[in-house]
Subunit: 244 residues, 2 copies
Amino acid sequence: MMRRGFRAAATLGRLRALPGAPCLLPIRNPATASGSSMASRISRFCPEKTDFKDFALPNASWCPDMLGLYQEFLEKTKTDGWIKLPSFKSNREHIHGLKLPTELADTPEKSDSRIITRSIQVEGQGYEHVIFFNPSEKKSVCLFQPGPYLEGPPGFAHGGSLATMMDETFSKTAYLVGEGLLTLSISIRFKNMIPVGSLAVLNVSVDKIEDQKLYLSCITQTRDQKTVYAKSSGVFFQLQLEQE
Amino acid sequence: MMRRGFRAAATLGRLRALPGAPCLLPIRNPATASGSSMASRISRFCPEKTDFKDFALPNASWCPDMLGLYQEFLEKTKTDGWIKLPSFKSNREHIHGLKLPTELADTPEKSDSRIITRSIQVEGQGYEHVIFFNPSEKKSVCLFQPGPYLEGPPGFAHGGSLATMMDETFSKTAYLVGEGLLTLSISIRFKNMIPVGSLAVLNVSVDKIEDQKLYLSCITQTRDQKTVYAKSSGVFFQLQLEQE
């Protein structure tokens, strides 16, 4: 019973947390979930054809470091097994066509809902970012360039913007690696401030999967790795999707 | 030497983290910092007269819970020692007239920089919030209503939005209670999702101050306290501002 796993999660505190929508994917749809290999999740998450706009593409605001590293990873998608994840305006678009848990299926759609990381659509002002995922290594790299609408101290990104970007990269990675996830916790140790308009590189790894929990870690640093911005970790709950 | 404390902090990893600007306040200005009682910090932070717009005021988007609790706390500002903190568009406005550490003083001003929690200015779409502070109890309460531009899962606030709001409330509280602060770490345990457009109440306490560190905790819940959204903690570094 697919439902059983969901109920187990619910006992941890109703329908718990969770940032990115990926964690809320196929719970009531055995047809979708049954072939739930990492490959099938990737193909659902990265549709070859879609009418939705992908925001994870270069624009004039990207700094040279961001653009340069993007091109490097784009090359790696051709030879080294990396995948560029699309980034739509809303998680409704990412989960388009999939059924949701009852608690979510009835959620009325707002006329202009947006995922937080695509809420500011003026180029360069908000969360400029793109995520690359490596299935065999269970790793992701997020290129993040915070804009001046994400300020904390003058000229520097707010710690909350990094927390958000980290949580988003964690949740997408956790979904693709493990499927059907809920965020249990995140922790961040800040080391240095990220200047607005510069590149921060988030390196995310799935360290272990144990007792229906995925343990992820992240180190955020400059492209040359000489400055560490933050070290962080996250624990995600894996819904035990048993097939009917 | 006021500088000494700053250098001590810097050795922990250059100019470290720090979400809200309050943590970056008066380091190079002995005249401002010397009378650094909590009262003087509050009076600097809450100017009686200012040309800057205060965004922490009710608007048509506020849900009845948000408006009702705001009115309750506003009453408490008259009798119970609570203070409503203003919320300007940028931390540049909060720290107006104060000198900054060298690393920050030379930061060029962007034409339209905004603190992340006031980046979305369409009423009701982003971080609707107001913070009340109680000096004698060393506590703050933040009323937070996430809008549809802060979505994670459809219909619910992204975990990063709560992390941001929590970090912001922590840092303002830590500055007012302790002065000159840098965020060392934050941790969040998620319990339930926050529906977009509803009220989440963040109750922040300073639990202890030890070895130049302030330890804060936060419980986020519904107004009736029946649903806990998250429990979190933060550690902030206190710059030992010694007088010249």
